[in-house]
Symmetry: C3
Subunit: 316 residues, 3 copies
């Protein structure tokens, strides 16, 4: 089970690996609560190379590294790198930065950037989002949240709501769910933002039952998990069209009343207003716990990267 870089969710389509990651994450949650996390990454340096800012994601990686005893060097401004501005390739930047650290967390606006970086890097690359491509650590923390909250990853009814066309986290979650038995998915989106054909074919191929609609209310009472995503104004031609659609996909307190007592609400955040703030105190609102799980998942991934990469360090 080789884990040299973390580039795509497809590297994680193995139940055994997922269980290993989730067990390590569980364990780190416990050690954190007792202030007893072992400092296993002492003398290791993580570099955050963010070509677009994402303070939330950057902080969760940096915090994970520090809690494991490591250190961090960081830029949230790599696009204004004098060198990138001067025309340096991503590959040259990565080659140089990989001399100065033991692992690179890369956020880049172009699809495939992380893969290109991995080809030349001397140290592991973690893809923290490459444009509309992948964001594999988010997919892992999403599945981990379902497991923690519901207690299982099979026999689940999951509502996926909002922008299913561009919603990167939805796509990745669909890949991961294909590993498990008896999953049923309720796709709910505006007509213009339906799940791409590619993913529907994938669902069919893996015999995952699914339905499509644009009626949010109709699925509320049927699901164990409600995964809600933000609908971006930019996807619509007129503000009027946007506003009309947007309001049909807002989870209000009234709507939530129709849901099961054990249904959990997830959201990759940031949220704008697709989930009413009134819902925050409801125990079914799992989205902030979901963000917290990101910390433990990233700690687990860092540990695995270094364990599985002993041959991969500067030291030989």
């Amino acid at each position: 089970m080789k884990l040299k870089h973390i580039l795509t969710t497809k590297q994680f389509l193995e139940k055994k690996l997922l269980n290993e990651i989730f067990n390590i994450a569980d364990n780190f949650e416990k050690t954190e609560k007792k202030n007893k996390t072992p400092k296993i990454l002492k003398d290791k340096i993580l570099s955050c190379l963010f070509y677009e800012p994402s303070t939330r994601t950057r902080f969760s990686f940096e915090s994970a590294m520090l809690k494991l005893g490591g250190q961090v060097i960081s830029t949230e401004n790599a696009a204004h790198f004098s060198s990138a501005a001067k025309g340096e390739t991503l590959e040259d930047s990565i080659r140089v930065v990989s001399f100065y650290c033991d692992v690179i967390v890369l956020r880049h606006p172009e699809i495939g950037a992380a893969k290109r970086a991995a080809k030349v890097s001397l140290v592991p690359i973690i893809n923290a989002g490459d444009g509309s491509g992948e964001h594999p650590t988010q997919a892992l923390l999403d599945l981990y949240t379902i497991k923690k909250e519901i207690g299982r990853t099979s026999d689940l009814k999951i509502g996926m709501v909002g922008d299913l066309l561009y919603g990167r986290t939805i796509h990745s979650l669909i890949y991961l769910l294909s590993l498990y038995q008896n999953i049923e998915i309720f796709l709910v989106s505006p007509k213009k933002l339906k799940l791409p054909e590619k993913y529907k074919l994938f669902l069919k191929k893996h015999k995952i039952k699914f339905s499509e609609s644009d009626n949010f209310e109709s699925i509320i009472s049927k699901v164990d998990v409600l995964y809600i995503t933000r609908i971006q104004k930019e996807r619509f031609q007129s503000l009027k069209a946007y506003k009309k659609v947007k309001n049909s996909f807002i989870l209000s307190k009234t709507l939530l009343n129709k849901a099961n007592k054990k249904t959990i609400i997830m959201h990759p955040l940031p949220r704008v207003n697709e989930i009413s703030q009134e819902i925050d105190p409801d125990n079914r609102a799992a989205y902030f716990r979901q963000a917290q799980n990101g910390l433990y998942i990233r700690m687990a991934l860092l540990r695995l990267l270094f364990e599985k990469n002993k041959i991969f360090s500067h030291n030989n």
Copy 2:
């Protein structure tokens, strides 16, 4: 004596608490000189969330945290947070960031931001400036500087010079001085930048003697402390009006000659030219020592926050 968050100078209107802070700060100055500061915040993470840059303030908090053995995650660019730009509320950002750290230092352009943050944060919030609102750690280091330089906080004649209308540090200092006996204040400002009525009523209520004028020279020889603030060009309608006024509130070497040998000169910095650089070598120039005191005060506050917040950590 609860110190859950540090939001406003009004939390510190207690002589006993101030003395405790100042004693701890004194002690940290000593341990720093001997390289013997105890690493009491090991495994704690401070997050600097600055929605507007302030390298000076940020560095002093980060340095304080590192000297106590803690670690730091930091953004000076939180306003360009993809999430803030996408319309996320401050509250949501704080909720998430508070999973990744043990204390948040917040700088934000809006009055009341720190208070809003404190309502939802899982960890202590330190207000490092909320617009024209408060900057309580500055007020504490100002009073601490007076105590260290003069040897007392009562029986003092204090000149406050410059922009008394918008000068946030002046207003906070007035609150703190109300705790002490026999204070006399000489307010000196351009007519357009006089101390707001609210603070004059406060002075009267606390029976603090004060006078107002626009004649800098006339008070120089009368005071123990000269607290000078910057007059901002933006406050004036014409450049001519600004220049005329500005020059009447510059502390030159000639003017300083009229001051007492023990008078100290304070300034919250940055200074532009309201204090002549010729004065820097004069031992009465206390403004750089004042900036240094900020380090010890912030170390003391961090220690107190963690001591008094045992029930407040992630660990239960």
Copy 3:
């Protein structure tokens, strides 16, 4: 041998000092490979004060400090410092920042900035580039690379190619090479970008043989070291003139075939296309190793600064 600040290459015109630095750098490379670098800068804080971004240089200093056990506070955005924007002098900023750290790495767009900073700082200043002025740590790592790659610093034929007029690293290297015997330099540049007269006089004074031409091909087979620099578009009046010139100074694989088997290719990076990427796998391509050497040189310089500055710390 006093090393209070690192401001200019001219401080290093001493063979003994250079050898000391290079030996320490060699040693750090070894300890790094074994994960045994002694944490000699524990409890020390390095501050990166970058008035223009340079992630590469910043990361190499930060990594060097962390590997020596120290800590880092950092801004890549010092120009937007509220205080600099408000009109604060560099001197005031340095005075304050020097309270919060033990060494300052300064990058600034103005010539002489580092020298001005050194005059008022309480802690050592390291010049990490002051406009078109100096960048002494780059010069040291360049010479160190020659020594490591070729095995000697005398009896060398060196080609310097590209922008010799503005190329700051070329100028600094010329100063350092003057210490050594039997150096011959082949200057190759567009006519408009020839080495300034000042440096040619220096070469003559030190009896270093040199020739000038604009024919890259003609020198390839003659040199031990090819030091190539980027030609900037901005130096030319028309894009056409630039393109014509640029193409004559590109090191292609075909051109490299004419070089000696032991010739090394150096470049201060970032590279745009003056060295073809095809060459990267060739063992003669030393430019990435050169960047890596920057880490060890900076570790060595940090060690020397603290060793030689015992009298210079906050502790007395």
